[in-house]
């Protein structure tokens, strides 16, 4: 097609949009039904969850095809279905859902990856006795996540957002008998809460400013037309427009959800959950929700930007993202738990996405999100299969040489790893990451993020090489009997591996289909896309960096992996850095001595307050009652057996006194009632006498 076609926005809702709500609704209903199942009905539960999710996938594909066809005919599809939920005085609380390229792509990604992970869980959780509960939670999560994706009302989005948070909490704490898991669940919940508070503030502010909760509503939504203009006109503190301020608040929520510094601490601990959960929630979908949220409210963040310029909000996003990327990558270097390494790499990749959003706009960040979802899910599932094969062993130092024992896992894992490192040309990660780097290169504000990100690439390659060589090369330092996982687990791996490689094709500079699709432009294939100034040089650089990282990693850890007890190669080289990295820059400790300590102190204060002040008040009351009871003793001889002791005892005595009114005889009560009626009616008549 030619680029000359003008893309006309199209708003009328089509049938598929009308039934879009089914996509989240069906899995949620399924989880509700699954909740009723009994333990033995495992097969039924699994079948129900998988069936419903595949139904959702089907619908999502239909929606996607609808959008793509519309796009192919030069229509930028943005169909919304809105309705009023509650009417509070003059204000309407509107809910609604939307079908546009963004949501369409996310729908397909979430439901597809989710489905694969569901299938995988059938194998992974096969021996768990809470199988049905697991699938109940999984379905609920999938439904909520899809709800986040399609919602066109920030309130609806927030509801699903919280639901997602809840399911994440439930699933991290799925093995609640493990104290570590319980703690991790709590940590995740509370940490994300911190972000969500700001998010909620942002929502309220937005509602207060624009008077609507809808994103798009034929020009009346908060992200379009006059509402946005009004937000821009409204100045907030320190040079921010209201739009920017709200954007930042929302970004705080997003940061909490997708583990940006400084709210990243919960994500690594979240790996206490079952591996499919880590793959589904903490790699592919939920953590991406934050990024998606930013992409969704992008107009808000971008509002007021000069052409090609940036806004304060976007700058903040960029800096946070870039620093997260490097920070987490550094920590990942020094971890030994296979899943923790992946977790930190997830954090850093999320940093990349955020930076991509901040630098290059929706398309860049979202593209990395999609590719990352696939290869990170692949990596996690591979890790899960490794753990499964090594009998729940998670320490990479106790593995090794698995490439012989589990060849399929090894190959797929290697593909995922290369994609993550951004191995040139063949792998999707390369293209998406290059998009971000390119954007960083051309960023007008500062060049530092660019260098940080490049450094991040190096680190990524390094720690992934370290991990892989620990796990798959050398000789087995752990359990001798290692078995390949069943097909139900390996098949999803292969599928994901395929996509981890293939997805790159839709985002190359030569044929930037993805970007064109998201931004509603025509995409054309021409190799001149590579001839943008500095692009080839950039590609070369990043490839070099990747090779450097790989080589370094191989050099240090290659085939000669040490004994489990032996110090790490890097540790031998620079012990103090290693220590810092291993202890995650002491962030947790920092929080421990600051926030948590403060809360503990505050709790102690409150406790003291309770004991002394309120306790004193209570004692005083008790004492006065005591006095009264003393009085009553003389008046009434029936209660003499009240003790002479301290307040509470006499409280009970006086209570007993009062209770004599309540002698357990119904008719007494009835009498009192009747007397009250008499009094009431008498008063009524007296008052209404002419």
């Amino acid at each position: 097609m030619q680029a000359t076609i003008s893309f006309t926005p199209q708003l009328a809702a089509s049938p598929i949009t009308g039934i879009l709500w089914l996509i989240p609704a069906v899995p949620i209903v399924a989880s509700g039904i699954t909740a009723l199942f009994k333990q033995p009905q495992r097969k039924a539960a699994a079948t129900l969850s998988i069936g419903t999710l595949s139904f959702s996938l089907l619908l999502s594909l239909v929606a996607f095809v609808h959008v793509v066809s519309g796009w192919a005919h030069g229509i930028a599809v943005r169909e919304t279905v809105n309705f009023t939920w509650i009417r509070v005085g003059a204000a309407n609380v509107d809910l609604g859902w939307i079908l546009d390229p963004l949501s369409a792509i996310m729908l397909v990604m979430v439901s597809f990856v989710g489905l694969l992970i569901f299938i995988y869980s059938v194998g992974y959780m096969a021996h768990d006795e809470n199988y049905t509960r697991f699938f109940c939670f999984l379905s609920l999560f999938a439904g909520a996540m899809l709800g986040v994706v399609i919602s066109n009302s920030i309130l609806l989005l927030f509801m699903n957002w919280e639901l997602v948070g809840l399911t994440s909490y439930l699933l991290i704490g799925f093995w609640y008998q493990k104290p570590s898991a319980a703690a991790a669940a709590k940590k995740a919940f509370i940490t994300t809460r911190v972000g969500d508070i700001f998010f909620l503030l942002g929502i309220v502010w937005l509602f207060a400013q624009t008077g609507t909760l809808l994103f798009y509503n034929h020009g009346a939504g908060s992200l379009e037309g006059w509402a946005l203009a009004g937000l821009l006109a409204q100045p907030a503190a320190l040079g921010l427009t209201a739009a920017g301020a709200i954007g930042l608040l929302i970004f705080a929520g997003a940061a909490g959800k997708s583990g940006q510094v400084p709210l990243h601490v919960w994500l690594p601990d979240a790996m206490e959950g079952p591996t499919p959960v880590s793959a589904l929630i903490h790699a592919a979908t939920m953590v991406a929700a934050g990024v998606y949220l930013i992409a969704r409210v992008y107009p808000l963040m971008q509002a007021g930007a000069l052409t090609g310029g940036t806004t304060t909000a976007l700058t903040v996003v960029t800096w946070v993202g870039a620093s997260t990327a490097v920070f987490a990558a550094l920590i990942a270097v020094a971890q030994n738990d296979i899943k923790r390494i992946l977790a930190y790499s997830t954090v850093s990749q999320l940093g990349y996405m955020m930076a991509g959003l901040g630098l290059g706009g929706v398309a860049v960040g979202m593209f990395h999100l999609i590719t990352h979802a696939f290869f990170k899910a692949l990596l996690f599932l591979g890790a899960g299969s490794v753990i499964h094969g090594c009998h729940e062993e998670q320490d990479v130092r106790r593995m090794g040489g698995l490439k012989v024992d589990m060849p399929l896992t090894f190959i797929t894992y290697a593909i995922g790893m290369l994609a993550l490192c951004g191995f040139p040309l063949l792998f999707s990660g390369f293209w998406s990451k290059d998009g971000i780097l390119e954007a960083a290169q051309h960023w007008s504000v500062a060049k530092t993020p660019f260098y940080m990100l490049v450094f991040g690439v190096l680190l990524t390659a390094f720690y992934m090489t370290r991990q892989v060589s620990y796990v798959f090369f050398g000789y087995n330092r752990g359990h001798k009997t290692v078995h390949e996982s069943p097909a139900v687990m390996t098949v999803p791996l292969t599928i994901l591996a395929f996509f981890a490689m293939a997805l790159g094709a839709i985002g190359t500079p030569a044929w930037p289909w993805f970007r064109a699709f998201l931004e509603g432009r025509a995409a054309s294939f021409n190799l001149h896309g590579f001839e943008e100034p500095g692009l080839l040089a950039l590609m070369a650089t990043s490839s070099l960096v990747v090779f450097l990282g790989l080589g370094l990693g191989w050099r240090l850890y290659g085939n000669h992996t040490p004994k489990p007890e032996a110090p790490d190669a890097l540790e031998k080289a620079v012990p103090w850095i290693w220590a810092v990295l291993r202890d995650k820059f002491y962030v947790d400790e920092l929080y421990g001595v600051t926030v948590i300590a403060f809360y503990a102190w505050w709790a102690r204060v409150a406790d003291w307050f309770d004991r002394r002040v309120w306790g004193g008040v209570v004692a005083g009351v008790a004492w006065s009652f005591g006095l009264w009871a003393q009085l009553n003793r003389f008046l009434d001889t029936n209660v003499v057996d009240g003790g002479f002791d301290k307040g509470c005892e006499e409280l009970s005595t006086s209570g007993g006194l009062l209770a004599r009114v309540q002698n357990g005889r119904v008719q007494t009560y009835l009498r009192i009632l009747a007397l009250a009626v008499v009094a009431l009616v008498a008063i009524l008549i007296w008052s209404s006498r002419p």
Partner: protein, 103 residues
């Protein structure tokens, strides 16, 4: 005296009688009977007001009465069930002896 007043007086009388029964009888079932009487008196009021209301088509009082009849049926079923089970446990329906709930 208007007819409405007559009906209301009858209702009041019935109510008082029911109340007296509920207040003076020992047997729990008879207390229930008294309560039923009171309910019926209330129904009579409702119907009378409906009949003499400016807009009987609105059916307000009538509906009220019908619903209260339905509710009374439920009340009777549960109440008598309670009495029976109490009798099964305490071997009495004498309210003066059913004072175990005293504080």
């Amino acid at each position: 005296m208007t007819p409405l007043a007559g009906f209301l007086l009858v209702a009041a009388l019935l109510f008082a009688i029911g109340l007296a029964g509920a207040l003076t009888r020992r047997n729990a079932i008879l207390v229930l009977i008294g309560i039923e009487l009171m309910l019926n008196a209330a129904n009579l009021n409702l119907i009378a007001f409906w009949r003499y209301s400016p807009h009987p088509e609105a059916l307000t009082g009538m509906m009220f009465a019908i619903f209260s009849i339905a509710v009374a049926a439920a009340e009777a079923a549960v109440g008598l069930g309670l009495v029976i089970s109490i009798h099964r446990h305490a071997h009495t329906t004498d309210l003066d002896q059913m004072n175990r709930m005293k504080g």
